[in-house]
């Protein structure tokens, strides 16, 4: 028991460093990319753009219908056969972004459609075009409505980054595996890894609460 605790304490700086230097940037990068994908894909569907709309549907169908782990290994182990080689790190980020983008696109589409159409009409009537109306009026409202669901996606992405271990990315989980293999303290190390993920997600939950307050300012009945 003492030995297990000692191993946990010894490995903590190493694991936390991996978390901060790998898990966190991977999450931030891939989630930012996925947001760009989600906004574009959802707007294409919302505006019913011909052809592009079918492509968007196909993308969502394909990505949501296949496991993230399988997508990772296809890109990393499969694509080199076609001459496409990307580093493990960037493979992970791109695959995570594409996968998360598909889910968030659907979240955002629902939120866009929930914004009353009168808001769009009012935007047109003050002389704005479609893009301006979306950017200044509809998207901010949709984003606010989608925020809890998008936070869900972000939090699950933090944990999904552990899948990158399967394509040789030395992130936090893989580092844990190695330490556990060396010390034979499987329970202690994996619980420790789990706790660090929990810590990250707790911070995100706290951030979500703070940000929701800011986003909700125009929903407060009382003026400040």
């Amino acid at each position: 028991m003492d030995q297990a605790i000692q191993v946990m304490i010894d490995s903590f700086p190493k694991l936390l460093a991996k978390g901060l230097l790998m898990t966190v940037p991977m999450t931030i990068l891939s989630f930012s990319l996925s947001m760009v994908i989600a906004v574009i894909t959802s707007l294409i569907q919302y505006a019913k753009v011909p052809v592009l709309r079918q492509i968007a549907r196909f993308y969502i169908w394909l990505i949501r219908g296949t496991p993230l782990l399988v997508q990772l290994v296809i890109v990393f182990y499969g694509l080199p056969a076609l001459g496409i080689r990307v580093s493990p790190y960037w493979t992970a980020i791109i695959v995570f972004a594409i996968c998360e983008g598909a889910y968030c696109a659907e979240t955002l589409r629902g939120a866009l459609e929930a914004v009353p159409y009168g808001q769009t009409e009012a935007g047109y009537c003050v002389g704005m075009n479609f893009q301006q109306t979306m950017w200044h009026v509809v998207l901010p409202q949709a984003f606010k409505n989608a925020f809890p669901a998008l936070s869900n996606s972000l939090i699950s992405l933090v944990k999904d980054t552990s899948l990158a271990a399967n394509i040789t990315v030395q992130e936090m989980f893989m580092t844990g595996q190695r330490i556990a293999g060396k010390t034979y303290q499987f329970l202690a190390i994996y619980v420790e890894v789990a706790l660090i993920y929990l810590l990250f997600c707790t911070v995100l939950t706290w951030l979500q609460k703070k940000l929701e307050k800011v986003l909700n300012r125009y929903n407060e009945k009382e003026a400040r």
Binding site: P116, C125, M128, V137, E222
Partner: protein
């Protein structure tokens, strides 16, 4: 001089004919009211004029522009939107913007004004409708009447050639109608060109110079308001006015 002239406007929703050939001419500085029973096509007519609905047939002369309404281009619609304004029945203020931001949004994004200048204009417009003390409030924090006054300020901001009002008081509590009508009355006296779909007979009769009575997608009768209300020439008009004024 006519700022707006429409000829033979038709509109169908599926198999239902909503508008069956409407002609309209609005002179600069005139206030024109459109009255009529529910389902007569008043609102659809107004929405067609601002291309919120696409007309199936009809021509429009707006200032120097001549448009075949079904073949209108996006660019022309944008041009029309820049020179007109629309006040909705349910206000449609931008929910994520304060009262002042609602007024300045178009000035900044469309007219490319500097934020500071736009805010100056915005405050002036809010003052005109008596809402300058609520500039930093969000729509949800305002009463219906206050929201509609902000919506009118937003409409005024772009200095439009004509303002369309779609039943601006119909969603309001009876006690709030007065404040909105008062604002509209003062705009009328300032010489703004207004086209107003309304159920407020007193507004149509006393404020607007010209009244149009619509039913079944057609104009039944039109004329100077005082005359139309005092001596309607069609029996249907008389019935409607008598019933609604009771």
């Amino acid at each position: 001089m006519a700022v707006l002239e429409v000829k033979d406007l038709h509109k169908q929703f599926g198999q239902t004919e909503i508008l069956r050939g409407i002609d309209l001419s609005v002179n600069k500085g005139d206030v024109t009211s459109i009255i009529g029973p529910s389902g007569s096509g008043k609102t659809t007519f107004l929405r067609c004029l601002n291309f919120l609905e696409s007309a199936d047939k009809g021509t429009m002369q707006f200032d120097c522009m001549t448009l075949d309404m079904p073949a209108v281009t996006k660019k022309q619609i944008l041009e029309i939107h820049k020179r007109t304004a629309f006040v909705f029945q349910n206000y449609n203020l931008f929910a994520n913007k304060t009262a002042l931001q609602n007024v300045t949004q178009g000035l900044i994004t469309v007219r490319k004004m500097k934020r500071k200048d736009a805010e100056e204009v915005g405050m002036k417009m809010l003052k005109r409708v008596g809402m300058d003390d609520r500039a930093s409030y969000y729509p949800i924090q305002l009463s219906g009447g206050q929201q509609q006054r902000v919506a009118i300020a937003r409409a005024l901001a772009g200095d439009p050639d004509i303002i369309y009002f779609d039943e601006p008081t119909s969603a309001l509590d009876p006690e709030l109608i007065g404040e909105v009508l008062k604002v509209m009355q003062s705009l009328a006296s300032e010489g703004l060109t207004m086209l107003v779909v309304t159920h407020e007979m007193s507004f149509a009769r006393d404020v607007s110079a010209h009244t149009i009575f619509m039913e079944g997608g057609k104009i039944v009768e039109e004329g100077p308001s005082k005359e139309l209300f005092a001596h309607p020439s069609k029996q249907r008009t008389e019935e409607f006015i008598r019933r609604i004024e009771k």
